[in-house]
Amino acid sequence: MRVGRYGILLAVLLVSLLLLTVQTRGGGTGRAGELVTIAVTPVQSLLVRIHRGGLNFWANYVDWKSVRRDNAALHEENEHLRVQAMQAGETREENARLRRLLVLKDRLPLATVAGEVIGREAGGWVRSLTVNRGRGDGIAQQTPVIVPDGLVGRVVQVHRGAAVIQLLNDPASTVGAVVQRTRTAGLVEGDAGGTVRFKFMARDGASVAPGDLVVTSGLGTLFPKGLPVGRVIKIEDKGSALFHFAVLAPAVDFSRVEEVLLVTGQTTQDVATLFPSEG
């Protein structure tokens, strides 16, 4: 066993030295080297290809990961920008609304307090808004509430820092009004269906037509004269009845009201000209 072991060592030594001797005597790497090279070269080529393929695969993977990471970052940035854009849009709209409100406030010959809508009730039984102005701001019950488009309603409940506004389309809402063109008087009432009706128009001489603007009459001391209430969209003629009524499209889109003016002062002046009159 031991002889075999050293025999192998001896053989290795001899072969190596022989190879070295052959080379140094004859030059070059010799036939043995050539044979080894011929045998090994294809394997080397294959391995290099595999290696390059592996490197390419790795590079692609790294690229893919990078792209994926970039994609996630861009997606996040995109979401962020979208939110920012939405916020900017919201701010722009709010700015426009407040600007209109401010213009109205400046032009009105009335003392007003601006309020922000902080709550809504639109279940049908009651239709109201809650604003962040209350007793401390000089708000009292029955205070008229307006926006640049027209009348919103009146204050029905006042708390320390908030007030509840009964909307025009609330079933319990009643406002004295006239048709601006014909001066036909009547009452604007809400109903359970959410529509607004102009009631108790006298049949005689009431040539009210769709498109006519209905404004507050100013009778009594509650609402200033000339606040837009709505436009006639349909006349309901009951034939032989003493009165007939018109269905109105409210001047104000109650669902979009976010800021309001609470009218704390009084005036006898017709304010209709301060509001948009396009139909």
Partner: protein, 164 residues
């Protein structure tokens, strides 16, 4: 079958050395994979296998490396034989001995190769060679050897647990 497997491993290691490892150098230094494989084979299968593995691996390196064919065949053959003889002595089976042993063997193999090449008027200075080639490569070999030993130990552990 076992010899064939050893041969494949060592040939594969040699080819690997001239292809993949050649581009995995750190500061121009590459590990000597065939030497590491030779040592591992010698540790596992004894001096004969170590000697033959070292010879084949060295021959392959000589042939593919463009140097004098036989130099590494001789030095690695001797390294494999020497390491195989140490099995059972000096706690060679202990990894804490194997790694420094591999480093020392790498240095010895480098020295042997340098001495052998001196006979053929190899031009490089010994100091430069030691500083820039032999020692860094020995350390690199030690690192790779450690990883190989850890991998082998893990494989062995898994194998034992699986068979149990």
């Amino acid at each position: 079958m076992l010899r064939l497997l050893v041969l494949l491993v060592i040939v594969g290691g040699g080819v690997l050395q001239s292809t993949v490892v050649a581009v995995a150098g750190v500061a121009g230094i590459t590990p000597d994979i065939p030497l590491i494989l030779t040592v591992l084979i010698a540790l596992r299968y004894g001096p004969e296998s170590g000697c033959l593995a070292g010879f084949v691996a060295g021959l392959l390196q000589d042939a593919t490396g463009g140097g004098l064919v036989g130099v590494q065949a001789l030095t690695k053959g001797l390294a494999g034989f020497g390491m195989g003889l140490l099995v059972g002595r000096f706690w060679v089976s202990n990894p804490l001995v194997q790694v420094p042993g591999l480093v020392l063997l790498s240095i010895s193999e480098g020295l042997g190769r340098f001495l052998l090449l001196q006979m053929f008027h190899y031009p490089a200075a010994f100091g430069d060679l030691m500083l820039h080639v032999i020692l860094p490569q020995a350390l690199y070999n030690g690192l790779i050897g450690t990883l190989c030993i850890l991998a082998e130990a893990s494989f062995e552990l898994v194998r034992r647990r699986t068979w149990r």
